[in-house]
Amino acid sequence: MAERTAPPVIRDSAPPQGKPDAAVVRDALGVGVAVGLSGFAFGVTSAGSGLSVLQTCVLSLLVFTGASQFALVGALAAGGNPFTAAAGAFFLGTRNAFYGLRLSQLLAVPKAVRPFAAHWVIDETTAVALAQPSRRAARLGFTVTGLTLYVLWNATTLLGALGAEAIGDTAAWGLDAAGPAVFLALLAPMLKTATERTTAGIAVLLGLGLLPVLPAGVPVLAAALAAPLVLWFQGRRMGPAAGAADPSGREKETR
């Protein structure tokens, strides 16, 4: 997930203590299966939000980044217009660009494969790939996680969307709590320092506080301003001298 750690250490020649392939596959399958099965919750949520089975499945097939999908159907269900709804989902997806940046060095994806590999650049594949000790293991982990998750996520999305009607009132089954639980599970590992916690706190206040006054979908976008706001305050507090040198490890890195 989007933990803010030092850039990945790339070891081209695998050290002898390299992880056996079976262990990598086991880790990757664990993540892929657990998260892939929650596509069911997305399918039900999406169909319950008024999207058709086809629309729901197209989202999982083509968007394939869970938080953005939940955000989109949530915003549409709340009456947001398609542009603000898509904007929220898009901004949430921007983190994948930074995952890609780290993965492109780590995996050294051949140019011809990049357009295909790109679709699988998400929280889970990144987390598994970054946890591996060698390039070979990272590639294996990325591929197995990506494949398992893609297949299961789409299959369970279809089942969920088809089953939504049979399930009836999705709220009675508590399925409207699946979306926020997914968001919380993605968020929790990111809340490492006071900076992240402050940002999250301000975002919650903005997101809920602006709910009654702004049109649906817009409060989330406004809450995103918590990020630059916190960074700006931090920059001011540290002063221009400290601002030039990033304290989060660039100096340590070049030592």
Binding site: G174, A181, A223, A226
Partner: protein, 102 residues
């Protein structure tokens, strides 16, 4: 129709940012400020979305069974439960609390 527009925009946008990350030469996005903003932006969005989908009802803020579900998810996270258990706990507790008539 509106829904299809939203789906098309989201699919195109989300794919392009994924591809961008793999295509951009390392270093272009490596400015510390850009990196830190990129790390914080999802934190802000996820926090706001979690709060809204737990306490939001249209344009008002309410406290209902979803809050209990989210609390259960938080407990599961603290106990380092797997992803599926976290989501399952939220769903089960929300359903349970509603069944009790809250």
């Amino acid at each position: 129709m509106n829904v299809w527009i939203a789906i098309a925009l989201t699919a195109a946008g989300c794919y392009l940012v994924k591809l961008l990350g793999l295509l951009v030469p390392a270093g272009a996005l490596e400015r510390p400020l850009v990196q830190r903003l990129a790390a914080l932006l999802p934190v802000a969005l996820l926090a706001a979305l979690t709060a809204q989908q737990t306490f939001g009802a249209g344009d008002s803020v309410v406290l209902d069974a979803r809050a209990a579900g989210l609390a259960a998810a938080a407990v599961a996270l603290v106990l380092r439960a797997p992803f599926l258990v976290v989501v399952g706990a939220a769903v089960a507790v929300t359903a349970g609390v509603r069944a009790l008539g809250w």
